[in-house]
Symmetry: D2
Subunit: 353 residues, 4 copies
């Protein structure tokens, strides 16, 4: 499909999510990582000095690159991945979209805007229809497409097969989130070693609206969020990578245990159908061991792009209980936007070169 | 109240909960720790050699004691605390009760029997009325009184003020449990370092029935469990001590935020009224910091006997959401039975010497 | 000895070491914690808001206090404990000494000055003789007395009995240091969870000179550092509290295994002789279990004021190998300075009121 | 070199090291994993049920295999990798060698026998000359070749370049070892969470003799161990994978900082020259960041087959100080034996099919 690799850039390349973008893009079959952009503080520095690399070492040749500022003037690539902090992402991403670029964003700033797709390619590819309206109303050639909050992506993927087959009505969720979700330096070790913290600033507020947007429908260019009541408690746990969610789910229609298992086991989506490079063979892995999923053993499944579901059973009050784990900086952040970009290319929204 | 200290023994003194009993009883104002009993394998050995002490070192003078077998012949004390494994606790505890002893048990074996009190002195002291029936029907002079599962005690204490004032109808709970709850050697480090495990053998099954028994009523010597629907997911987290539970609660009667706060803040019980030695000043501590309770910071509150409640707010689906943390081997196990024994002494069930 | 409690203040009261000072002084029999002082940023705020409390909650009544600025005008106490960051401690401590105050400092700024005692009361109480010279030459009525680096205190206490009896000639040391040694927020969890970091900025450089000063002699008001060659590698490990050091030691004079054991077991000092309030019964605890000392089990020994020594044996190259563990924020920091102050009071250097 | 894959078996396939063998061999270009053998308890069971898999899930198709007993009758492969426990490895490995098989062993039983190569292909490939004597004197067609203790392999690889160029005379070492070195269930989480344990049963005794054997010479079929004095303290730390060692080294001949750096940077061996499949491009990686090596960031370097060296500097007493980290179950165990087997094939000792 791709003759020549498409030049791409990472905005906010030095942070924890930025590093994951860099790692995923450094060896990407369709994209050529052309620019590493970051804040004024880092611009002009050697990437290896500006970024405190979290896992192992940067891919070969990357550390020596020079960081450029986050402006459309300094970044020429037609496709930019944004790992910017929300304090600056809003304006910077607008500037890039106005300059005609495709912005694949991990930042929360534009996620809930009615003309901005909040996209998981397996869950709601049809939401890309919002881009027409976005371009028309905003008057730009570019586009902003966002991935969701790292915990919500795990929740939405675990709910999607149930919602598509039986309708989800209510969800009670308790999250157990990894420290890499807080970026670097992030969570002080004195807070989290041997501890659980039942609070993550700004996190709980995102869970209901983003879940409902992901699982909503787009009709005639208008988004109709799913009508799902969500009750959420978030917690931070001493885990490196991998968010785990405990879910109790009420369905619209009755479903047998067998129906539910089948819904999870058979679930595939556009990335699998189109064999996108970052698409895992199975977006959901239904694990049958009683003690799974576990973040340390399952977060890397499918290259970090699969969500593992387990402990699936009838709930004693509602319909289904289950636990799901996904890699928060891959499927929950950088990998999510890379897959979004791949879908855009595959659908011709981003023109292949 | 106590002129001479009452001789007491610990059955299963070498394990993790047994050690906590030993630590709490070694300096107890009412009880004199007379015998350390354990399995055949340990009997006859020096306690310091037989027990792999988990926190620091055994209290002074304890390590040198000789472990005796768990039989009424070898253990003379009228009061015995049982930290026995459930594989043996059932029979051994019966033998002691038949021999006229007061058995304060942490084991699960007899907890759900209709004539055995499952006791938290602040929650259901009136359940001691079951002892008349127990002695009459079983034909023994002794008694068996049990504390509950370590996670259920935290749940039941957090629910008790709500149930007493407003009636609890439904509870969704996800637990995050410390490794000390599994005893020693317990959870392998290869399983839990940097991980979450959504399974604890035999644990989830206890949560609904024990919660309903704790919060039930005794009328004319008959126990009527509370009619509360409970949906539970348990998990193990890399925390040393302190079980944390995330709760969403439906009430029978409407309660304002203010009513709920007052219910928690004002809640006291028999141990506080009688100023029992192990009674914390406040059985529930309502913490107002947004990021509390936390096991590492809060498990030791009230000498490990207080449960800390936080993140209390209106639930988006039911009535109340909250998080509670308690020390699983103190309030959730050994300290629970010690407090139970104190109540029995204070009420004259166990005769003071 | 003390009729009325002596008013004291903590400078830098909001940080990790400052909190330990506050905890130790809140219930001190000789000292009355009168002022909580901190940087401009915190001054005027409620202490409970300004300090992110690391272990449990602040002592009763402390959270409500108002933080004052770190100047002799705002702090009236004659005795001040400094937990200030080294970026500001130098000047602030001079200002207090010039204003006639007794400054007990945990900061590194003045430690190596020739007229400033670097004091461990059990090791080198005679170094207080430097105070005459300090006051004469600096022309102030006050005094500055410092404790050492948290790792060096553990090393110096473990070496002191050997040095006093046999002379220490060479030491090879590898440290394994707790995260609380880095203060708050300190070490990011992403760096240290499941990891070892063989670097602590500025730490290795302190080990040789401070060790030699602690173990040196004062003759006619002049300090003569011990002539000990020290080779050090520091590391950070995922431990909450408690620094552990692995030592290989060359002695001046031959010592049998028995001599070495006796040296550790019998070692006592001025704080024990004078029964100072913070003095542990045994400043060194010689543990005979093969797998001790361990930070989690031993750091709190003696209320955090004892250093535990174990794995003592003949070295295959030099004379002695051993491992020592001590609580880095108690004996290694705040508790060290509190004990220093107690010695000053007991010796009449600080006049009792 | 290899036309048809060589059938191989893993003895002790269910344990922690056995699992690593399985993972490395499942996709090996030269070897075909034909049999999974384990103790009587596991024989006949499905591998996925018999093995509690530690990292992620078993390679595809492996879980369904049936475990066979560890006897030459049940295991047909000409090459067997032994991950057996030392309680049984001695006899079982002899039986296989007598049956004409090539035994590549991770067990300690035969390591120190004078006619058994203790092999690191980059360090002492010439030790394979011992095999002639072994076969002649033992009268078998098979062979036993061992890898070393997991910590010693890291030490020996870090010392090899220094020893080859400058002669190593003395080494002081403190190890910080990962929990996976203890196998499964291994270290209880209650012992190691937030802790350091300065003891590993039987470990320290291996460090001096194995290091000296690795770095020794074979002349006329006789092994002459290196004359290196080793002083060692081992510790266990809460790290999943990756042993770290802190070394102070005395050399025979003076070496400048530059010479030492060059020795590490330029060091290659037989596996690199012969481009063996498991050979990392660089067996030693000299890292120049001040805070490296670290187990979590560096253990996986070179697919777990590279040892990373850092913090290299002149020692204040001896000649060189440094820190080295290597993956204990890959380069320190299973990967070591796989590389040994590859060398045997490349040298024609094991006939290619």
């Amino acid at each position: 499909m791709i003759r020549r690799k498409l030049p791409v850039a990472v905005l906010g390349a030095t942070g924890a999510v930025g590093q994951t973008f860099v790692r995923l893009l450094a060896a990407h079959p369709w994209f050529e990582l052309q620019e590493l952009a970051a804040s004024e503080r880092s611009a002009g520095r050697r990437y290896g000095d500006a970024a405190h690399w979290i896992d192992g070492d940067p891919p070969r040749g990357i550390a020596e690159r020079c960081v450029v500022p986050c402006t459309p003037e300094h970044v020429q690539s037609p496709v930019v991945f944004s790992a910017l902090d929300s304090s600056v992402a809003g304006e910077v991403e607008l500037a890039f979209a106005r300059a005609g670029r495709f912005v694949l964003s991990n930042a929360r700033n534009h996620r809930m805007e009615p003309d901005v797709p909040l996209l998981i390619p397996e869950v709601n590819p049809e939401h890309l229809a919002l881009l027409d309206r976005q371009r028309r109303e905003r008057g730009w050639e570019g586009a902003i497409v966002t991935n969701g909050n790292c915990a919500v992506i795990v929740i939405a993927m675990a709910l999607a097969p149930l919602h598509q087959r039986f309708g989800v009505r209510q969800v009670f969720v308790t999250t157990m989130q990894a420290v890499s979700g807080a970026g670097y330096p992030g969570v002080p070790s004195l807070d989290i070693l041997g501890n659980v913290i039942p609070f993550i600033a700004g996190e709980e507020e995102k869970i209901a609206p983003e879940t409902c947007k992901f699982l909503g429908r787009v009709t005639d260019g208008v988004l109709h969020p799913a009508q799902i009541a969500v009750s959420a408690q978030v917690t931070r746990v001493p885990v490196q990578h991998g968010h785990t969610v405990s879910l109790a789910v009420a369905l619209e229609r009755r479903a047998s245990q067998r129906d539910v298992f089948a819904a999870f086991a058979e679930w595939r989506g556009a990335p699998q159908a189109r064999e996108l490079p970052s698409a895992p063979e199975r977006p959901l892995i239904l694990h049958d061991a009683v003690d799974r999923p576990q973040p340390r053993r399952d977060a890397d499944a499918g290259g970090g792009m699969s969500v593992t579901v387990g402990a699936v059973r009838a709930d004693s009050i509602l319909d289904v209980r289950l636990v799901a784990t996904g890699h928060n900086t891959v499927r929950g952040a950088a990998g999510a936007s890379v897959l979004n970009a791949e879908l855009l290319v595959a659908q011709g929204v981003i023109p292949a070169t």
